[in-house]
C-alpha cells in the first residue's frame, strides 16, 4: 500500500469519538481558564515599596509606589518595580498552572509558589503597598 492510499483516520472528530472524555469537565476547565485571563494579579517587592498589577496575559496594568518610596534612591525604586512586576507575573503563572494541572499534572507549580499564591485578586487596593510604611 502506498502512502497516498493510506486510510488513517485524521478527523474531524466529534465528542462521540472519545466517550472516555468528560465534556462537562472540559467545558468547566475552559470557563476557568477564560476567567483567569480577565483576572488581575498583584505583586510586590520584598520591601513593599511598589505594588504592580498585571492582567491575565502578564501585561502591566498599574504600578503604585508606597509613600515611603519618596525617600529611596532611584536605583532602589528601579529594582523594586522590576521585583514587583516579576512577583505579579509569578502569581499569574501559578494561577494558570494550578488550573491547568487538573488535566495535566506536569504543569503544577512548584510547592513554594503554591504556598505564596493567595488566590486570584479581582480588585486592587494601592494602599496595600504602604502597609509596612
Amino acid at each position: 500500500m502506498s502512502q497516498s492510499d493510506a486510510q488513517f483516520p485524521v478527523g474531524p472528530y466529534t465528542p462521540e469519538d472519545f466517550p472516555e472524555v468528560d465534556v462537562a469537565e472540559v467545558e468547566e476547565l475552559e470557563a476557568e481558564l477564560a476567567s483567569l485571563k480577565t483576572a488581575t494579579y498583584t505583586g510586590r517587592d520584598p520591601d513593599h515599596l511598589v505594588a504592580a498589577v498585571v492582567d491575565g496575559t502578564g501585561t502591566v496594568a498599574r504600578v503604585a509606589f508606597a509613600a515611603t518610596a519618596a525617600t529611596r534612591s532611584l536605583e532602589t525604586l528601579e529594582r523594586a518595580v522590576v521585583a514587583a512586576v516579576a512577583d505579579a507575573q509569578r502569581r499569574m503563572d501559578v494561577a494558570w498552572r494550578t488550573v491547568a494541572a487538573r488535566q495535566l499534572p506536569e504543569l503544577a507549580p512548584p510547592d513554594a509558589d503554591l504556598a505564596a499564591y493567595g488566590g486570584i485578586e479581582m480588585a486592587y487596593d494601592p494602599q496595600e503597598g504602604d502597609r509596612r510604611g
Binding site: M1, Q3, D5, A6, Q7, F8, V10, V50, A52, T57, G58, T59, V60, A61, R62, V63, A64, F65, A67, A69, A70, L74, L77, E78, V81, V82, V85, A86, Q89
Partner: protein
C-alpha cells in the same frame, strides 16, 4: 491461513486486541517531538529583549518578547518632574507599550518559523523530512 494485515504490521507489533501498538507509539513520539521542538523554539524566541522608553525619555525599560520586565532605568531628577503617582503611571504605560510591541514582534517572528509537518502513513503519523 490468516488474512494478511493490509497495513503490513508485523504480528509482534500487535497487542492482544489487534491494535498496532508500535504504530501508535511512533505516532505519539512524532507528535510529542514536534510539540517539544516548538516549545523550545518558542522559549528561545521569548527570551529576546526589546527596548522602550517614555516619550520624554525619563523612563526606559527592557522587556523580553515573552513580557518579562528585565530592566528599568529612571532618569536623574525624574522624581522632581513627577510625583510618585504620576511616575507609577508613566512607568506602567512605558512597560505596557513595550510589552505589546515585544509580543507583536514575537508573533511576527514565530509566524515565520517553519512548522513541523507530518505525513500520514498506514501505521500512523510520521514527521515529514525538512524541505
Amino acid at each position: 491461513m490468516a488474512e494478511p494485515d493490509p497495513r503490513d504490521v508485523p504480528p509482534e507489533d500487535l497487542d492482544e486486541k489487534g491494535l498496532d501498538r508500535r504504530g501508535l507509539a511512533d505516532t505519539l513520539a512524532a507528535l510529542n517531538g514536534a510539540v517539544e521542538e516548538m516549545a523550545e523554539r518558542s522559549r528561545l524566541l521569548g527570551e529576546v529583549t526589546v527596548d522602550g522608553s517614555s516619550d520624554d525619555e525619563q523612563v526606559s525599560v527592557q522587556v523580553t518578547r515573552a513580557g518579562r520586565l528585565v530592566r528599568l532605568r529612571l532618569r536623574e531628577g525624574v522624581t522632581r518632574r513627577y510625583d510618585l503617582e504620576a511616575l507609577g503611571d508613566l512607568i506602567a504605560r512605558t512597560v505596557r507599550d513595550t510589552q505589546r510591541r515585544a509580543r507583536a514582534e514575537y508573533d511576527r517572528v514565530f509566524g515565520q518559523i517553519e512548522q513541523p509537518e507530518f505525513i500520514v502513513t498506514p501505521r500512523g503519523l510520521r514527521r515529514a523530512p525538512r524541505s
